[in-house]
């Protein structure tokens, strides 16, 4: 205790002065990031408003928002969003369940890993979009093939994330569990699960990102509703504002769902949040 005092006194000043700019930058950073796109959007709005460009191919923000408002008013927007969300949600769920199960099995049993992992790695090497024709032949042009494609996209990062996380659990910490005589199940619940959770959340977020990518691919291939359909429809009918509207909504939904995962995981990852904060700085 006595020895702590001088150390604290010494360090108190640099710590405070270091904390001030970091607190500032926590708010300043997102604002800084918004500066460029906001300026560009505003400038383009001005250019079109002044009549220097007709903005037909690249509609200004106001027209994009008008397109969104139109779609929303007719109820179309909600229908498309619901269709897309449903597909992503279902595909994500299947992909996560399969990826988690197989990843956990491969990570936990080395025999299963030797049997399973080479095949999965080989399949992973195939660009997932190459499966599209086969999925359509097998599962038809409707929902099933779309959801299968999304699930396949989600599966690989989750599988790899879970397996890698289990393989890299610190043997020394597992040993702590052993000295307290944890049974197989208690070892999983009290040591393995918490240890793999951070990597698992990351793999879920990567998987979700791929899910959004693949829903676009799936809906571009053939759909009568969904945000991807709005893209295609906008292209065929020459409505760039509608395309941009769909893109904006994709961005918002992608960010929102990603944030939901982060939010749901946050209470379980509180023990490491200071670490990720310093890592982000």
């Amino acid at each position: 205790m006595i020895s702590d005092a001088p150390v604290l006194q010494q360090s108190s000043e640099p710590v405070e002065s270091a904390a001030a700019p970091s607190r500032l930058s926590r708010y300043a950073r997102p604002v800084l990031g918004l500066l460029l796109p906001a300026t560009l959007a505003l400038a383009w709005e001005l250019v079109v408003w002044l009549g220097w460009s007709n903005g037909r191919l690249v509609p200004p923000p106001s027209r994009v928002f008008a397109a969104i408002a139109d779609l929303a008013r007719s109820g179309e927007l909600l229908r498309h969003i619901a269709a897309t969300l449903w597909r992503v949600g279902l595909g994500f769920a299947f992909g996560v369940v399969a990826g988690t199960l197989l990843g956990a099995i491969s990570g936990y049993w080395s025999l299963a890993r030797r049997l399973l992992d080479p095949t999965v790695q080989a399949l992973r090497a195939i660009p997932s979009l190459a499966w599209v024709p086969l999925f359509i032949l097998w599962l038809g042009i409707f929902e099933t093939s779309k959801i299968a494609l999304i699930a396949a996209g989600v599966f690989f990062p989750v599988y790899l994330g879970v397996m890698g996380a289990i393989l890299s659990v610190d043997r020394k910490i597992v040993e702590v569990g052993r000295t307290f005589r944890l049974s197989g199940f208690a070892m999983i619940r009290r040591i393995l699960l918490p240890a793999v959770l951070p990597a698992y959340v990351v793999s879920l977020r990567v998987g979700l990102g791929l899910g959004w990518m693949f829903v676009v691919a799936a809906e571009l291939i053939g759909a009568s509703e969904g945000l991807g359909y709005l893209l295609l429809d906008g292209q065929q009918l020459g409505k760039p504002a509608q395309i941009l509207a769909a893109i904006v909504i994709f961005a918002i939904l992608g960010k929102l769902t990603d944030w939901l995962i982060e939010l749901a995981a946050a209470p379980f990852l509180r023990w490491q949040d200071a670490f990720s904060r310093t890592k982000g700085a």
Partner: protein, 261 residues
């Protein structure tokens, strides 16, 4: 009583880490194990803890053969090995999860008090200094009240000042329930401050070389002349153990051990 009967360990790669190590350790005794690097000290401790199985020979605690981790045997490693996702209090209570919550809380609170970290109960392990983290590890191992506590170089990563502090602290905690302590160390000072008996090991293969009783009353004065004498005799023995020309004293070792060409 803890009895080690010709405990041997040969690793799969052929290294004979431990050869017929025998010792009897009374309940409440404090043993320090000292010896050159690679002479099988950690191997011995892990065999007693039931973490690794001996290739031959037996470890028995009160006539019960130890083959896997046992409730009466606790271990503290060189690193604290705290679980980063549990608060300090939950780390300390990790080994008594089956107890009713109220009893657990009470024991954890008492242990926190005892190691002087009551104000850190809700802190995360990453927020602790090395010495504090090792104190939490000691509390975690002591809370289930083991009869035997094994310590593998528990203070070697700490600075000299913190190390002394924790040595005194360990003796304090030991006095509460008087478990058997078996402590591996490289620090002769530490061995003489803590131990009733110092076991000196020698390598290739790892075996017992010498035993030195430390007949000093506690608390021990690190600056007394008698303390120096014991230190010197441990050092001398340690030097001899590393000298290949000195034959083994222990007659139970097999033939050929004393050859020194």
């Amino acid at each position: 009583m803890l009895a080690l009967d010709r405990v041997s360990k040969t690793y799969p790669n052929g290294v004979e880490a431990l050869a017929r190590f025998s010792a009897e350790i009374g309940q409440g005794e404090i043993i320090a194990i000292i010896g050159g690097s690679g002479c099988g000290k950690s191997t011995l401790l892990r065999a007693i803890a039931g973490l690794d199985r001996a290739s031959s020979g037996t470890v028995t605690l009160d006539s019960e053969v130890i083959a896997s981790p046992h409730a009466k045997i606790g271990i503290i490693f060189q690193e604290p090995r705290l679980l980063p996702w549990l608060s300090v209090a939950d780390n300390i209570g990790f080994g008594i999860a089956d107890l009713p919550a109220s009893e657990r809380r009470e024991k954890v609170a008492r242990a926190l008090e005892r190691v002087g970290l009551a104000d850190k109960a809700r802190a995360w392990p990453r927020e602790l200094s090395g010495g504090q983290a090792q104190r939490v590890a000691i509390a975690r191992a002591l809370v289930p009240q083991p009869e035997v506590l094994l310590l593998d170089e528990p203070f070697s990563a700490l600075d000299a000042f913190t190390r002394r502090d924790l040595q005194d602290h360990l003796l304090d905690l030991w006095a509460d329930t008087r478990p058997t302590l078996i402590l591996v160390t490289h620090d002769v000072d530490e061995a003489v401050v803590l131990a009733d008996r110092v076991l000196v090991m020698r390598p290739r293969p790892g075996r017992l070389f010498d035993q030195i009783e430390i007949n000093l009353t506690r608390p021990r004065d690190r600056n007394s002349p008698l303390f120096e004498t014991f230190k010197r005799s441990v050092l001398t023995s340690l030097d001899r153990s590393l000298d290949r020309n000195v034959p083994d004293r222990d007659a139970t070792q097999g033939p050929g051990q004393a050859m020194w060409w």
